[in-house]
């Protein structure tokens, strides 16, 4: 076959392929339009009924009659509604989710070879609220794919399964600030039910660094005052991440003016990590650490902008003596950066003009 024939046949093949793609695109549009219209029609029928049911104006049977005709669309709608409702509203949706033939298919999805299917199954089971899904979700916590483990953990938390805290922390023993934030947020869904497991992890001597870091975060988010002694001990932990989480949380859970905690936190004011120093400044501000004003003034000239910023904010947060120190440092701080950040924070709080007038 010579070159010309190759070009000729390639051109013919490409022409046919292009026509084929065009037809495919047209068909795709037609079917997509039709599906969207059907979805819209279904939603228009079921939404008013569901609203009436949530207001107690109609029975669950009327809604279920429509939902049964389109179980997949129905599940999606119920999940959507569940996201926008409060706890009481979500409770009203539970009978609908349990009465409909949901669950079996999602449970079988957890066994799928495709991780995307396992992910969807794990996510949906949390909304369906069927306690029978707990063993399967616990098993899904061992999945090879991290996002599936995250979805299973979130579903277990949604189901209010208190015993899941430990397995969640074990399966999501992940490093990195963002991942740990996500795990902390998932455990937060359990609310006060996670208190005891979190306290026992904080006091455990065998818990991993990551688990300790996450547990310390959750303690702060839940404002667990009882966690103070354990958190104080973690300030000396060798892992920077654990120290960071402990400082952050102590700023939220310790009593305002608690001398012991303030002393322990301020001992990290010269930490080699700027993130630690940054959080030390914030925590001292939150705890009203008047006696640490010299440390905060030193922080105003830290090489890192965020440390300077948090030190200035902390001085403002401390109240009168802190603000006075901040005003003085506008003119008297030895470091240019310290003077600048003091001006910025005073102005942010509407105090710069007064300071300038007083000084002139």
């Amino acid at each position: 076959m010579n070159l010309l024939s190759i070009i000729l046949w390639t051109s013919v093949a490409l022409t046919l392929l292009s026509v084929f793609i065009l037809i495919m695109t047209i068909l795709l549009r037609v079917f997509t339009d039709r599906r969207l219209a059907q979805d819209a029609d279904f939603m228009n029928r079921v939404r008013p009924e569901l609203r009436a049911y949530l207001l107690g104006k109609t029975s669950g049977e009327a809604v279920m009659a429509i939902l049964r005709k389109e179980p997949h669309g129905g599940l999606r709608l119920l999940m959507e509604e569940s996201e926008s409702l409060d706890a009481g509203g979500r409770e009203m949706l539970e009978p609908l989710l349990k009465a409909l033939p949901y669950g079996k298919e999602e449970l079988s999805h957890l066994q799928s070879r495709h991780w995307e299917k396992r992910l969807r199954g794990a996510e949906a089971l949390g909304y369906i609220g069927d306690e029978r899904a707990v063993p399967a979700l616990m098993k899904a916590l061992q999945d090879d794919v991290l996002v599936v483990r995250f979805a299973a953990a979130e579903s277990l938390a949604r189901l209010g399964h208190q015993d899941a805290v430990d397995p969640i922390l074990q399966s999501l023993d992940v490093a990195g600030d963002v991942s740990q934030r996500r795990v902390a947020e998932i455990i937060m869904i359990l609310g006060a039910r996670s208190t005891e497991p979190i306290l026992s992890i904080l006091q455990s001597s065998v818990a991993s660094e990551n688990s300790l870091g996450i547990a310390a975060r959750v303690a702060g988010l839940l404002k667990l005052h009882r966690a103070c002694p354990a958190l104080k001990k973690l300030l000396l932990h060798q892992s920077q991440n654990v120290r960071l989480s402990a400082i952050r949380s102590l700023g939220s859970v310790a009593t305002h003016g608690d001398m012991e905690v303030i002393k322990a936190i301020s001992s990290l004011g010269d930490d080699s990590s700027w993130e630690v120093r940054c959080n030390v400044m914030s925590a001292l501000g939150k705890l009203g650490a008047k006696q640490e004003i010299p440390l905060l003034l030193k922080g105003l000239s830290d090489p890192q902008w965020w440390v300077r910023h948090n030190a200035a904010e902390a001085l403002y947060e401390i109240g009168e003596p802190g603000i006075l120190a901040l005003r003085k440092s506008v003119a008297e701080h030895v470091d240019e950066y310290g003077r600048d950040i003091s001006r910025q924070i005073l102005q942010q709080h509407g105090l710069l003009q007064k300071t300038m007038e007083a000084q002139s």
Partner: protein, 471 residues
């Protein structure tokens, strides 16, 4: 005759290699989009939008004489769906009254604001905030090109993520949520690129996108196709191959720490976005640094930018892009065929040089060669026509595939008439428009070689201060 035959074979091999790579990118792009869409969970974006732990973002909008569009862009940005963000607008020595306009529109007042000052920039003349919009900051500085304006904004940016967008851009309401998602799923993500589409044809009222549509002109429609090809499969495929060497400056989200480490975009760059992306790749894929950070692409984070609909402006823009591409490649030539940069050095950079930087020269040479062949009788009229048809149908095939991918996602065209206009543009793209594009790029290459480094003429903007009903 032998030389001509050899040249013919060289060009044919070039075409075969180029389209084989395009086909590979197309398949990879389609697979990636499908995988991406299937991995999105039901409440994922809602969780990101409502979470107190989502990483806050500083949005940077550099502008130079953009009074016609800047207010609409800011209003659009102030409406986006994201839990915590600040907007820093930098007027880079504008002479069209941008600062006065912003002062009036947003009730600006001067403030004291001092940042990390990691990157040296031209003098900052003033910083303002707005009591009506607490997350808006405006900076006025001495003119120093777009890169300098971005660096100045970064010096006072507060948050760990930076999003740089152009002054004529409009973001979809959830675009930032879609861009932040990869950072939340993988701590190794260093930067995320989004999709850019033409904004000409959108219905915009007070910065809000109220209707979608395509540009009215044929030139605009052809660029719509070009953007779809580039963003719907080429970049996704390239990102899979660690070879996405051009992230549009119109939309990028990057870790601030990394941005500062790289020293920000180069102020003397003709196209700072291309040069910065190459340097970013150089840093991320340097095996000596043993980093695990990566660059990813979010195919559903959409930003709309204004495209030129007049030939003169189009030529000027493409000329600048071509000169910028050449400059960026030459500045980062150390990556070319260098195994230290893995796939990026061995495939990405050579691809960018051979099939992007030099593509226009090869293609124009092919056209000239065909005419020479016809004159010298090396090839018959039928053979030449057949080769032209092959080039034409290859373009149609790739564009058609891009439309199929677009239509299968949520970025599908709004109506049937718009869809048919898009199809019509595919068939007319290679009938003059594409060739004109090639000429502008060849001129750009020659001018670059003769030392031209300016930014070309500014684009005429559509006045976004008027409502669409006045246009």
């Amino acid at each position: 005759m032998t030389i001509i035959r050899i040249l013919l074979w060289v060009i044919l091999c070039y075409y075969i290699a180029l389209h084989a790579i395009y086909l590979l990118l197309l398949l990879l792009g389609a697979l990636q989009v499908r995988r991406y869409q299937r991995a999105i969970t039901f409440a994922e974006f809602k969780t990101i939008a409502e979470s107190h732990l989502t990483m806050p973002v500083t949005l940077v909008i550099p502008c130079y004489n953009e009074a016609m569009v800047i207010c609409a862009t800011i209003r659009n940005i102030l409406r986006i769906n994201y839990p915590q963000y600040e907007v820093i607008v930098v007027s880079d020595g504008s002479t069209d009254g941008t600062i006065d306009l912003l002062s009036k529109s947003f009730n600006l007042r001067p403030i004291e604001r001092f940042g990390s000052r990691q990157i040296t920039t031209r003098e900052i003349l003033g910083i303002y905030d707005s009591p009506d919009f607490p997350n808006l900051v405006v900076m006025e500085k001495v003119n120093g090109r777009r890169a300098d304006a971005i660096n100045a904004a970064v010096s006072i940016a507060k948050y760990p993520l930076l999003c740089v967008i152009d002054a004529d851009c409009l973001l979809e309401k959830d675009a930032l949520l879609h861009m932040a998602r990869p950072f939340l799923r993988d701590s190794h993500v260093a930067a995320v690129a989004g999709v850019v589409r033409p904004s000409n044809g959108l219905g915009v009222v007070d910065g809000e996108i109220i209707s979608k549509g395509f540009p009215r002109s044929l030139l605009g429609m052809n660029q719509e196709i070009e953007y779809a090809r580039s963003f719907q499969w080429a970049r996704i495929g390239l990102s899979r191959l660690r070879s996405m060497l051009c992230i549009s400056g119109a939309l990028i989200l990057i870790k601030k720490q990394l941005f500062e480490k790289l020293g920000g975009p180069w102020p003397d760059a003709i196209t700072d976005d291309i040069e910065f992306t190459m340097r970013l790749n150089r840093h991320l894929h340097d095996k000596r640094l043993k980093g695990h950070e990566k660059l990813v692409y979010a195919p559903d984070a959409v930003c709309y930018t204004e495209i030129p609909e007049k030939l003169r402006q189009y030529a000027s823009q493409r000329n600048r892009w071509q000169r910028g591409t050449m400059q960026a490649i030459i500045r980062n030539r150390g990556m070319l065929f260098n195994p230290r940069y893995g796939m990026t050095g061995l495939f990405g950079m050579p691809f960018f040089l051979i099939f992007e930087g030099l593509a226009a020269i090869v293609e124009i040479s092919a056209w000239i060669l065909m005419v020479v062949c016809l004159i010298l009788g090396v090839a018959s009229g039928f053979e030449i026509l057949l080769m032209i048809y092959l080039a034409y149908i290859l373009g149609v095939f790739l564009s058609m595939a891009a439309v199929l991918i677009t239509e299968s996602g949520r970025l599908r065209s709004a109506s049937w008439p718009e869809f048919w206009r898009l199809i019509l543009a595919i068939f007319t793209d290679n009938l003059g428009f594409h060739q004109f594009h090639l000429v502008t790029r060849v001129v750009g290459t020659i001018e670059y070689l003769f030392g031209r480094r300016d930014l070309g003429s500014a684009m005429d903007r559509i006045d976004q201060n008027k409502s669409i009903y006045d246009q």
